[in-house]
Homo-oligomer: 198 residues x 2
């Protein structure tokens, strides 16, 4: 999730903004202008509802969220299954939770790249990413108190092709990272509260 | 992702371990015993491959990972689509990246609850979760340098029903949090490197 388009980066003399890369660039800039005038529209709350199925298999539904001064529903109630793989005694009925973290990061950065390229007038041809996360499972298996539970490191590799010099494509990726919600959360952390009703 | 079963928590006198909650408890304990003897088996590397489609819409494929001394493939190559919603100028072809973060957290904690309950001999009937994440989009929209890009807070609410006193169910959730890979990553952060090939 990342729109990333700081107006101070735009040329002083406005060029005609046209949709590009499948991004409705005029609508994106108009949205930013509206939020600048009414900052309370920027307050969003996203939601997910999880349901245990069996073993380590569960399913999450993502159907609605709040923001821009109102409630919204996705055009369908999206679901995602997760499970542990067979080697970790699961039934492999879906990707693992940590693979979804990698997906979330790839998705946020890729959306940012597309938006920023459109805002800067750069036509993209291809944006591919490969992500890796290293984890020592002695943490979650309770076999070591010196090993953390989560990833020790995450690596993202982008291959970007577009109608711009290499340096400009690199700048677009840099700006996507600089304004990525998920990159911020993963690298800086976020307070998480857990309440239980039993 | 969380197996969470520290042997020191088990009774000194071993009870017969039987599958419970869809968790193959004997296999889980056997796995932990093997990793205790051969710690290098705990080194895992998870992967995801992202592909931009159009606008802010992309798709990730999660098909293989490395661990337990070898390479593994999921029983199918799982895919997940992500997009921005219409109110943020996307086509809403999938959940947003940040909703997937919530899903990842729900999935990891829920799997942990199921594994730990099984290890402790507790039959579960229901594990439901609702998650919320608050975000001020002035960060990613480039409208404020004082607002972070990511969530300011995440709240998880579990409803757990099972054949155990409330205190024991609460302890199971507490242990799931204490050994959750995703909870650790989200609350403590992880180093992320981004390389670009243009």
């Amino acid at each position: 999730m990342s729109a990333h388009v700081a107006t101070q980066e735009m040329p002083a003399q406005k060029k005609a903004r046209v949709p590009l890369n499948g991004v409705n660039t005029p609508a994106l800039f108009a949205t930013i202008d509206v939020v600048r005038q009414q900052p309370q529209l920027a307050d969003f709350r996203f939601r997910a509802k999880g349901r245990w199925i069996a073993g380590t298999h569960m399913q999450t539904t993502m159907s609605s969220f709040t923001g821009a001064g109102g409630d919204h529903t996705h055009k369908v109630a999206y679901t995602a299954d997760a499970d542990h793989p067979a080697v970790l005694c699961g039934e492999d009925e879906g990707p693992t939770p940590v693979e979804y973290l990698l997906h979330s990061l790839a998705a946020c950065l890729t959306a940012g790249i597309a938006n920023i390229a459109a805002a800067r007038g750069v036509t993209l041809h291809e944006v591919e990413s490969t992500l890796e996360g290293d984890i020592d499972l002695r943490g979650i298996l309770g076999l070591s108190d010196e090993v953390r539970n989560g990833f020790s490191a995450v690596r993202v590799n982008f291959a970007v092709k577009g109608d711009a010099p290499a340096a400009k494509l690199q700048e677009i990726v840099d700006q996507a990272r600089a304004r990525s919600a998920v990159f911020d959360i993963l690298t800086n952390g976020v307070p998480v509260s857990i309440d239980v009703k039993v």
